[in-house]
């Protein structure tokens, strides 16, 4: 039982069950047919037996005060309807005196307490059935009853039972066979899509993560395949993200690292400008640190969008926390950041950490590239929840603005900072939670906003 076995085929399992059911049914039917056949055979041959016994009883007459049996041949011809059966007959009077019979010495042991005229007993060591018929006489010279006992072995009964059974069972056996064949066919055809699916999966390139077709599959399999497709899509995205991250990281790091090397060489070569070079080196290194932070944050964001659970988040709290963390004081000392939030919660369903990262990058861009006054806020615009950052500047050039959001967006003017990577994080977050990024120019400045679908208002209200 416990030892491992080769996996059983679903077809075989279903067919085995069908076969077992059919066999059980067949056994029950065979049993009942046998019973009925036996009953029918017993009834018909019991009638013959009774007819013969009655014939014999009828032929008894009283002659000179003695019962005389004029044994009728017809009785034996009746019994000969069972041509291969042995016969027994015996006529006795009430006192058990033998009048006539086949053999005086053969005694039949009738079962005790058998009320019925029929009983079964052994005849010369062979099972046989007997009938007892009593005839009463009330003559002048003879009075009393005479018992006729007639018996017959059971060959013909058994043969008839067998014939009846065979006649009934043969068509059923054929029908059963047809049922087995048909169920085999049905089961195979029902399981064919599963086989096709299994074959398809086996033949699939392990790197092929495109979704499988579900339109021709039965409903029972649609769910499985849909789940599998979802899983593969996520895998696909993660693999993509990983690949992008690596290539981004290499790309982003190449220029700063090259610059640092140049600065270091310069500082080494030129003693006069060493102090200045070291200062630049420091600035570069700091910038590189920021870049690494951003890369890490982006990687985190991309990872989390697929794996972290989505929770209800209030965008006001995100804005508030950004301001309260006071990162901007390091980034742009002296610049004041205003927080503009209302009374109503601005609820979205998202990952809080990713939203924090997006907000931080939006604010960082505004502080680096914009002009005072810089403000951050959250509000509901219709069915959209908006987290925005505004500054008093004109915003990026049109050409830059168009390219914003793509991953490699660095130009000379932003050598110190990194607007491109920051925005790309915002974009990723927006895409992950079904939103987008909007940049608009107002009369009094520039607004960059992360726009997400608002969840139905709930929570503290």
């Amino acid at each position: 039982m416990a030892e491992p076995r080769a996996p059983q085929s679903l077809t075989a399992r279903v067919l085995l069950a069908v076969l077992l059911i059919l066999m059980l049914g067949g056994l029950l039917v065979a049993g009942s047919t046998w019973w009925n056949g036996r009953l029918a055979a017993r009834q018909s041959y019991d009638r013959l037996l009774l007819g013969a016994a009655s014939d014999i009883a009828e032929s008894i007459r009283i002659q000179a005060g003695q019962p005389l049996v004029d044994l009728p041949v017809s009785a034996f011809q009746l019994l000969a309807q069972a041509p291969d059966d042995r016969i027994f007959y015996q006529v006795r009077d009430a006192t058990g005196r033998f009048i006539t019979g086949l053999d005086e010495t053969t005694a039949i042991d009738a079962p005790r307490g058998a009320d019925s005229a029929y009983f079964e007993a052994a005849l010369n060591g062979e099972p046989a059935r007997f009938v007892r018929v009593t005839r009463r006489f009330a003559e002048r010279d003879y009075s009393g009853q005479i018992v006729v006992l007639v018996g017959q072995t059971l060959h013909a009964r058994r043969a008839m039972t067998r014939t009846l059974m065979a006649d009934a069972l043969l068509p059923m056996a054929i029908a059963g066979l047809a049922l087995v064949l048909m169920s085999g066919f049905v089961v195979r055809s029902a399981l064919r899509p599963l086989e096709a699916l299994s074959r398809n999966l086996m033949q699939r390139d392990p790197y092929d993560l495109t979704p499988m077709r579900t339109d021709r599959l039965p409903r029972e399999l649609q769910g499985t395949i849909a789940a599998m497709n979802r899983f593969m899509a996520r895998l696909d995205r993660q693999v993509d993200a990983m690949r992008n991250l690596i290539s981004d990281t290499a790309h982003q790091l190449r220029t700063p690292v090259a610059a640092i090397r140049v600065q270091a060489e310069t500082a080494l070569d030129d003693r006069e400008t060493r102090a200045r070079s070291l200062e630049r080196l420091l600035a570069r290194t700091r910038s590189l640190g920021t870049l690494l932070d951003q890369l890490l944050s982006r990687a985190m964001v991309i990872h989390r969008t697929d794996s972290a659970p989505r929770l209800p988040v209030d965008l006001r709290e995100v804005a508030l926390e950004i301001v309260e963390r006071r990162d901007h004081e390091v980034l742009a000392p002296g610049v004041e950041v205003r927080l503009k939030i209302g009374d109503l919660p601005v609820m979205v369903t998202a990952d809080p950490f990713s939203l924090q990262e997006a907000a931080r990058n939006l604010l960082g861009n505004a502080l680096r590239h914009g002009q005072a006054p810089v403000s951050i806020g959250a509000e509901r615009r219709g069915d959209r929840a908006v987290l925005w950052v505004r500054d008093g500047g004109p915003g990026p050039d049109k050409a830059v603005a168009e390219r914003l959001g793509s991953r490699f967006n660095r130009d000379a003017s932003s050598a110190e900072g990194n607007v491109g990577l920051g925005l790309s994080i915002v974009h990723s977050v927006a895409a992950a939670f079904g939103g987008h990024v909007e940049m608009t120019r107002h009369n009094d400045g520039f607004e960059a906003a992360l726009i997400l679908p608002a969840s139905p208002t709930e929570g503290p209200e």
């Binding site: 000969a80 041509p83 042995r86």
Partner: protein
């Protein structure tokens, strides 16, 4: 034990001839396996058949015992009850007794292609087989009886007995049914077959017919002119007697056809050899020999003028048990004794 004694007592009382045992014994062949065959058939008749069988089966030899039918019945019954040696083959013309033995579970079962090919009336339970086909005939003395006077049916015989009782007085013979199981069987079959039986007995009584034993004796009597007519004689004995004076009639109203019954007793020591003997007797090869011996009579309607509907085969069936019923026998014997009062005359 008491049962056995009762049986013996009954056998002795019912069949007083049983003490006589076998009438003749013959040995055939020198094979190692010796079949003990007990039969009612005369050795002289059956000899060529057995000779041929032994020729074909040199490993077998046969001790052939010729018995009277009632004695053979008593012997087989006793052997079946465990008293006395069991024969390997019992072959009897008194088929009712054989049916009784089979019904009493005294027989060995056997089935082969040849036995299975037997027609229904000649096989019972695969334990009893009809080997021969012998008609019960009327024989007459050709010299003493011209062809116009020959009775061709029972009706003609009845008329003859009524019209010329003087001529036939004391000169009609038939089997004594008390002595011969075969005679009893024929009488019983006649009593079932037609109402002529009563009239026949009456006629026999009128002409003081003779009831006597043994086919050979009757046929010789006819041949010598002691009897003019013999009724219900087994045709095979006539055929082998080869007496030119004897004419044979197959009664046209009906002719009884007897098939001697072959049984292998249960507990036979050489049942395999007995089975071979049975298969030989039923085989096409034995048929010419059987026909020559008169044991099988081919009843060609063209030759004999006997209509197929007039053939009455005595079939091996439990209905023959009626013949052995005590009351039935008593009734038949009573009628018989009325007809054949103590035999007079030489």
């Amino acid at each position: 034990m008491t049962r056995l004694l009762t049986l013996l007592l009954a056998a002795v009382l019912l069949f007083p001839v049983s003490a006589r045992a076998q009438e003749a014994v013959a040995e055939f062949g020198t094979g190692a396996t010796r079949l003990n065959v007990r039969s009612t058939t005369d050795i002289g008749i059956v000899r060529p058949v057995i000779d041929r069988f032994i020729d074909l089966n040199p490993d077998l030899s046969i001790r052939y015992e010729q018995w009277g039918s009632n004695a053979l019945f008593a012997n087989s019954r006793a052997a079946c009850a465990g008293d006395g040696p069991v024969a390997d083959v019992v072959l009897s013309s008194a088929v009712q007794q054989m049916v009784w033995l089979v019904n009493a579970a005294c027989a060995h079962r056997y089935r082969s292609a040849l036995t299975a090919a037997l027609p229904g009336p000649r096989i019972w339970r695969d334990e009893l087989w009809g080997i021969t086909a012998e008609p019960a005939v009327i024989v007459y003395n050709k010299r003493l009886l011209d062809s116009a006077q020959v009775p061709r049916s029972r009706f003609a015989l009845l008329d003859a007995m009524r019209n010329r009782p003087d001529m036939l007085r004391n000169r009609i013979a038939t089997y004594d049914i008390a002595e011969s199981g075969l005679g009893y069987l024929f009488a019983f079959s006649d009593s079932l077959e037609a109402t002529t039986f009563g009239a026949m007995l009456e006629g026999f009584a009128r002409v003081d017919a003779i009831a006597t034993c043994c086919s050979a004796e009757i046929i010789q009597g006819v041949a010598r002119g002691r009897f003019l007519i013999a009724y219900n004689v087994l045709g095979s004995y006539v055929a082998t007697a080869r007496a030119p004076e004897i004419g044979v009639i197959l009664p046209e109203d009906y002719t009884l056809i007897l098939s001697r019954a072959f049984m292998i007793p249960r507990g036979a020591r050489h049942s395999a050899g007995a089975e071979r003997f049975l298969d030989y007797l039923l085989s096409p090869e034995a048929r010419p020999t059987l026909i020559q011996s008169g044991l099988v009579t081919v009843l060609d309607p063209l030759e004999t003028g006997l209509l197929p509907s007039a053939r009455r085969a005595i079939s091996l069936s439990p209905a023959l048990l009626v013949a052995l019923d005590k009351h039935r026998r008593q009734g038949l014997f009573a009628l018989w004794d009325d007809a054949f009062r103590p035999v007079g005359g030489p």
